[in-house]
Amino acid sequence: MGERSDYGTSTSEGFITEQLATLHLRSETWARFKRNRPALLSACGLLGLLLSVFCWPIILKTAPLLGAHGSAFSQYHDPDRLSDDQFQPPSATHWFGTDVHGRDLFSRVLFGAQVSLLVGLMGTIVSLVIGVLWGAISGYAGGRLDAIMMRMVDVLYSLPSIIFVIVLITTLEGRLKNLLGGVAGPGLDRTTRLFFLVIGLGAVSWLTMARIVRGQVLSLRQRPFVDASRALGASATRILRCHIIPHTLGVVIVYLALTVPAIILYESFLSYLGLGIQPPMASWGSLIAEGAEQINPVRIYWWLIIFPGCFLVTTLLALNFLGDGLRDAWEVGRRD
């Protein structure tokens, strides 16, 4: 951004009015978004969820300072503490009941939320980076490179993505284990699994993003300001970085809001397969899978599925409402 001064002469009136117009458009979009009740409510709900997810571990850590009562509280709610109280239904001590190992389900759902939300967000960022770069380069370069890059997207579309994810995760993990030669402790093992999960999910979710960005870039590169920049001698990378990619951001953000729930869903699916998070860590998907394992004709442990399921479903709902709200606000703005 610091290099912008080299064409400071272009701060003509037209430039300023255009800037003002975009600013105006943005505030209009924001106002329209605020009028959308479900979207606003969802945003607040998601913030509340994030807040409780971050605060709950702190509460558990600080509770013992309040004396014996507090330390008992944090003991009961320790998500990793095994106890003899297996399959307790929801009660005053265990708000969501306990699981097969007598662990407190409320804590596990909140700690699982950390993983689900983190993986959803990071996976989306990975897919964003790959998708935007791929689409922008392909659309801007045009010609043969464009054709090759888009055929690759077509081929990847027609391969079942589950194969790709499985192979990617196992390959990367195997390579890393060879590299480290067994030095890795269990803690490192867990973080690497999380890391590869994010990479794998991002690597299969960028295809649609690339197509959308390419479509945008194809129309953007014909615009006068891009020609002007090219005439001034700007390089292709500079034009992409300073002019084209910033202009695709609106559409990209709208699509992102719909990618996050898709990736959270995919993560829960992988954890359900046992490919995602490894125990004792939990995500909503692995919690539901653990609950589903306990289904038997004799006794019904409904809380094992209902509570993590409710968290997953409401989060997905909120994200979808948010995405719809963003899209509506943005698209009306473009139509005007």
């Binding site: 077509d154 081929v155 589950i162 397969l273 589903a292 479903v313 997905l316």
Partner: protein, 318 residues
């Protein structure tokens, strides 16, 4: 000429299939370990080597791939050249089953479940989307849209166990699992199809709302056509296009099985095989299933394009 165009498209699918099979083949080989790592007793190095030699895993990659396609010629003991047996039929994990055995066992289950779920998704989704769009802005629209978005947000891995607990175990309306009578079909079909019915309803509602603003609808109204025939003859056939293009890949997905559903309801479909064979590096099965999926996808996308030409008079091919 549309027929020439479609034949050309179909022929272009063949190199695509080759590329996909090669890619799936390479992917499975890129993963560390081999198909015999999880044998019951740790095999001695000689046994493992013999197994690998039997399945030609010790050969160079390209030769293995050509052998898979059946394009390798070998000299036998008498010095005669013979074409080697194509490798695409031998599963390494299930030794006494060929890939076509696995497909023959699994595909009918997965395909009938997929087709039923597809019909369910269409049967729920289309009327719901249509109804919401007709009642735009009224309370019926809000309820319909909320139902559609909720369906999109309840994944099969949540819905399936809940349905099993409530309807199968508690109230004993439906059987818990397996695949033998028409009653067994209901729960898996609903679990698999509900998500997509939500998607379809949303697509159709949006398509209809966009179409109502189009100029040719205003023109038809000005001409004095009654609302009903405008809706059927002009609006619906264009508004349903997004649903049609979504339906192609969707049907390919549904027909090739779903791991979650087959796992929850213990169905003998091919979704389980796809996951397990990728985990076990059983490449003949992985590549075979990928080819089935890709072929379905190519054919269905072609059908989607044909449907476009039939529905939208503005679309011309060739």
């Amino acid at each position: 000429m549309p027929t020439v165009y479609f034949i050309k498209r179909l022929l272009l699918g063949i190199p695509l299939l080759l590329v996909i099979s090669f890619l799936a083949f390479l992917l499975v080989h890129a993963a560390p370990g081999g198909p015999f790592d999880r044998e019951r007793n740790p095999a001695s190095p000689e046994i493992k080597r013999a197994l690998e030699a039997r399945y030609h895993l010790n050969e160079p990659l390209l030769k293995q791939y050509l052998r898979y396609l059946g394009l390798v010629w070998e000299k036998d003991d008498q010095g005669q050249w013979h074409r080697a047996l194509a490798g695409f039929n031998a599963s390494m994990r299930y030794r006494n089953h060929s890939v076509s055995d696995i497909l023959q066992q699994g595909l009918p289950v997965s395909m009938s479940l997929g087709a039923l779920s597809f019909c369910f998704a269409m049967g729920i989704g289309l009327p719901l989307g249509f109804f919401s769009a007709m009642r735009r802005g009224k309370w019926e629209d809000y309820v319909g849209s909320f139902l559609a978005i909720s369906a999109v947000c309840v994944p099969a891995l949540v819905l399936g166990p809940i349905l099993v607990m409530l309807l199968a175990i508690k109230w004993r309306v439906f059987p818990v699992a397996l695949w033998s009578s028409p009653w067994h079909v209901v729960l898996p079909t609903v679990t698999l199809g509900l998500f997509f019915s939500g998607r379809i309803a949303r697509l159709l509602r949006e398509g209809l709302l966009n179409i109502f603003q189009a100029e040719f609808i205003t023109a038809a109204r000005a001409k004095g056509l009654d609302e009903f025939s405008i809706l059927l003859k002009h609006a619906f056939r264009i508004a349903v296009l997004p649903v049609v293009s979504y339906a192609g890949p969707l049907l390919a997905d549904l027909l090739t099985g779903s791991f979650v559903i087959e796992n929850i309801f213990q169905l003998p479909g091919i979704g389980l095989h796809l996951v397990n064979s990728s985990l076990n590096k059983d490449y003949p099965v992985v590549v075979g299933l990928s080819l089935v999926y890709a072929t379905l996808l190519i054919v269905l996308n072609l059908l989607v394009d044909a449907a476009y030409a039939l529905l939208d008079p503005r679309v011309k091919y060739g």
